[in-house]
């Protein structure tokens, strides 16, 4: 189908970690015509390679385009924590960099005999040794990358927690964490895959009139008063945060940060100083907060110590929600930091958790299908529709959950301006393309 020609490289990368081989094959046009992209195509590819316990990373047609918040790539895998097929949204710049690196979908099969890292650039996949990254925390891992002059415009990296086989390990996009609460990092570690580097040095033409469509959507957004309520704190407000906690965290120095081409950021960098009880000195730190639920869970346990605790989780590559469950009640900062360090080196057999409670208005089961980290700020049915739409088209799910005034049609207009094609796409009911 020619409809998506400008939106994909039409290439799939297949990596066999057991054989240490890789190939780039053409993306089946039929799959794209039927499934459009993202999580739906991932599901299809998962079925094709299901015997090799694959991990799939894919982008949507709008990923990297002028559609607002077009940052998304989706990792699809059998979750070691929830026991079913999960779609974890990977944001920041992962999606566009993946697309600009020359491939649209990546199938990672098998298990390597020693730690490996994948480097993808100009449509080629290299399997590099990652021995030097094992046992080092995420900031140190990023430094090692720089030292070894491995170009990384976007990197998915696991930390020491994954190296030690901790099920609550969480993959990190750079040093910014992620919304992975489904065990993606654990799965990567079990495949001896330390990280995936996307070096997006290419580009795609996309449709010429996309810039105008983007302006139309932005005008629509900026006309809405709700647009002013941006940033991490406003998201915490929407999810529900206690007033006393809000007071504590508002004191720090915040700065809005956005994923790729997002007009209304929901993340913040935060600068804070704290007294490190282990070094008995004052430390100045900066972190980027992107995981709203993780931050809230830690804030409930750690109160004013939420920032150093968040930094610690980011450093070791841990899911803050899982960590918060294990932190001591009313523990001191030192006790909590020691507990996090302990968690990060204590291997466990992953126990499949079947949760039946509600997270906001969304059932835990539904919530976990999409990584378990997306803010439950809408009623379940609408939440599911918006998340699925985003996961297929390659637009940030948080953005679509926040701005329900942006309709499916608004986004489809980025794919085509042809009335006939638009009607065809509308009839497809994109949300229903994800089977699970």
């Amino acid at each position: 189908m020619k409809l998506f020609d400008n939106f994909y490289n039409m290439k799939v990368g297949i990596v066999d970690l057991t054989q240490l081989s890789s190939e780039v094959i053409p993306l089946d046009e039929q799959i794209v015509a039927e499934k459009i992209g993202g999580a739906a195509v991932n599901e299809d590819l998962f079925r094709q390679y299901k015997d090799d316990a694959p991990l799939l990373i894919g982008v949507g047609p709008l990923t990297g385009s002028f559609a607002p918040a077009s940052c998304l790539s989706v990792a699809t895998f059998l979750s070691p924590r929830f026991g079913n097929l999960c779609h974890v949204p990977l944001m920041m710049r992962t999606g566009p960099e993946m697309k600009f690196s020359g491939i649209d979908f990546l199938v990672i099969k098998g298990t390597a005999s020693s730690p490996k890292i994948l480097h993808i650039d100009k449509g080629a996949i290299q399997i590099l040794s990652a021995e030097q990254f094992i046992g080092v925390d995420i900031p140190e891992g990023l430094q090692t990358l720089k030292k070894e002059r491995i170009h990384s415009r976007s990197i998915l990296l696991t930390g020491t927690a994954a190296d030690h086989g901790v099920p609550s390990a969480s993959v990190s996009t750079g040093f910014n964490g992620s919304l992975d609460k489904a065990g993606l990092a654990f799965l990567m570690a079990s495949k001896n895959l330390k990280g995936v580097i996307f070096n997006g040095t290419g580009g795609l033409p996309f449709a010429e009139d996309n810039l105008e469509d983007n302006e139309t959507i932005e005008r629509k957004l900026f006309a809405d008063e709700g647009h002013e309520n941006k940033g991490f704190l406003s998201m915490l407000d929407k999810i529900g945060i206690e007033e006393n906690l809000k007071g504590v965290i508002k004191k720090a120095k915040w700065r809005d940060m956005a994923c790729y081409h997002c007009p209304s950021p929901c993340m913040n960098s935060v600068q804070f100083t704290w007294h490190d009880p282990r070094k008995n000195s004052r430390v100045e730190d900066n972190i980027l907060l992107s995981d709203h639920l993780g931050f809230l869970a830690l804030a409930k346990k750690g109160g004013k110590d939420v920032f150093p605790l968040s930094e610690s989780c980011l450093r070791f590559g841990l899911d803050p929600v899982a960590v918060a469950e294990k932190l001591p009640e009313n523990g001191s900062l030192l006790e909590s930091l020691n507990a996090i360090e302990e968690i990060s080196v204590t291997p466990e057999e992953p126990k499949i958790k079947r949760e039946h409670h509600q997270i906001g208005e969304v059932s835990a089961e539904m919530h976990n299908l999409y990584g378990g980290g997306l803010p439950p700020i809408l009623a379940e049915e609408l939440w599911k529709k918006r998340v699925r739409l985003s996961m297929i088209l390659g637009v940030c799910p948080i953005f679509l959950l926040r701005f329900t005034q942006i309709s499916e049609l608004d986004l489809l207009k980025f794919l085509t301006s042809n009335e006939h094609d638009l009607k065809f796409l509308e009839k497809k009911e994109i949300q229903s393309l994800i089977k699970k």
Partner: protein, 435 residues
């Protein structure tokens, strides 16, 4: 001989092909240098979304390819801050000097452009540029450099957070114009019209005296006269309100030094072992102690401010001795700007003590300024108190108000609006909050 050979061989030299355009400077450019168009970047507002890179690459290579853009957003994972690298269209672009094929030119409109026909993508311009702003396309190998989209920069147009703004550079430097006017009027008033009166002026009930002179008077006579103190309090009060405003805007000797500076732009440097800003306090103490011991104002006879006020005699004659002091100290201007004011002036030292408890301060927010290749504020500061190295490191330098003469050159010159005048109790830049 070489030219002949070239001619015989029909070889066109680079000079013939791409002659360097002569720099055209109008008379007014010497006093009111033209500001050129450019893009201003506010790192506080930048969210790192990369929309600027997208739209720029669309113009450069007709596709969305952020690495082919002429602007690059650097996302520092450690400090979690964003910086944008793009051409500043410098006043004296180093890339032009570095380019071996003269592919880069600065137009009459102030925009530095690269002619891809002549560019051999050697990358020397990138190395020469303090911002590393000419960016090499990883695919085509071509050099991409901002040309401000010929006056309508797309990155500015589409930046959703307003971190980028376009300036056509037609800002009038009103502070400079005002300061020179006030300095000229003060000079004419104190040196020509009211001869020898800065030290002590009486106009009806109003009495105005040099505070250092009053201090020496008190020391030499051993008596404190209320009128003396009141007559000195005008300048001291002004200092508490506006810092060493007197030194920067009124002092006739300071104005004289500024004029000398105009004709001696190249400095040979003041010996480092004499660079002690405490020396002026020693001279002040010496003047007071000397006055006490000698029974007359010890420093006033050689004071350059007094000397310049007395140099033009009542009958229109020039006073040789006073002129000599002024000439010698003015000659020091070949070493550094305002050497006398920086290291030796006891009047400045006395005012500095009051400026320390003054109500205002000058702040330069490195967050807002960011451009480490700029440091124009440090270049124009006549007292040399702005730490350019700190600015290059992205740290807001502390401006000691005891040394600052509130000339506001830094405020006037800063293209980013990062230099500001603030009340002492106002926050300079948002402080890091301790938890």
């Amino acid at each position: 001989m070489q030219e002949q050979t070239n001619e015989q061989n029909n070889i066109i030299t680079l000079e013939e092909l791409r002659p360097r355009p002569e720099e055209k400077k109008t008379f007014s450019d010497h006093f009111m240098p033209r500001l050129h168009p450019g893009i201003l970047f506010d790192p506080k507002k930048c969210t790192g979304c990369g929309t600027c890179e997208m739209v720029c690459s669309l113009r450069n290579v007709s596709k969305i390819a952020p690495t082919s853009a002429s602007i690059k957003v650097l996302r520092d994972e450690n400090s979690v801050k964003n910086f944008a690298i793009f051409c500043q269209h410098c006043r004296k672009p180093l890339c032009i000097e570095a380019c071996p094929t003269r592919a880069i030119e600065k137009g009459e409109d102030g925009i530095v452009r690269i002619d891809k026909l002549f560019c051999v993508a050697c990358g020397l311009c990138t190395m020469a540029c303090p911002e590393a702003a000419p960016l090499q396309d990883p695919i085509t190998g071509e050099i991409n450099k901002c040309d401000l989209c010929e006056g309508d920069p797309q990155c500015v147009k589409y930046c959703p957070s307003g971190a980028l703004t376009f300036t056509k550079g037609k800002r009038i430097r009103w502070i400079k114009a005002l300061r020179w006017s006030v300095q000229t009027i003060s000079f004419l008033l104190l040196v020509v019209a009211l001869i020898g009166t800065f030290c002590s002026l009486k106009a009806g009930a109003l009495s105005l005296s040099c505070p250092a002179g009053v201090l020496q008077n008190i020391a030499s006579s051993g008596t404190v006269v209320l009128v003396w103190i009141l007559s000195a309090s005008l300048i001291l009060g002004l200092t508490i309100l506006a810092g060493r405003f007197f030194c920067g805007w009124i002092c006739p000797f300071g104005f004289f030094l500024d004029l000398v500076d105009k004709i001696t732009p190249k400095k040979i440097g003041w010996p480092s072992f004499l660079k002690s800003r405490m020396a002026k306090y020693g001279i002040l103490a010496g003047a007071v102690g000397g006055s006490c011991a000698l029974g007359f104002q010890a420093f006033c006879p050689v004071c350059p401010i007094g000397s310049i006020c007395r140099s033009y005699g009542a009958a229109g004659t020039l006073n040789g001795a006073n002129m000599g002091i002024v000439a010698v100290l003015g000659g020091l201007e070949v070493t550094e700007r305002r050497v006398w004011c920086r290291y030796f002036c006891p009047v400045g030292a006395l005012l500095a003590l009051f400026a320390k408890i003054g109500l205002i301060k000058i702040v330069i927010g490195a967050n807002q300024c960011k451009k480490f290749s700029c440091v124009q504020c440090a270049e124009v500061c006549p007292m040399g108190i702005i730490d350019a190295d700190k600015l290059r490191e992205g740290i807001s330098p502390e401006i000691p108000m005891t040394e600052c003469i509130t000339c506001m050159r830094c405020i006037d010159r800063c293209p980013y609006g990062a230099a500001k005048i603030r009340f002492r109790w106002q926050k300079a830049v948002p402080e890091n909050v301790e938890l």
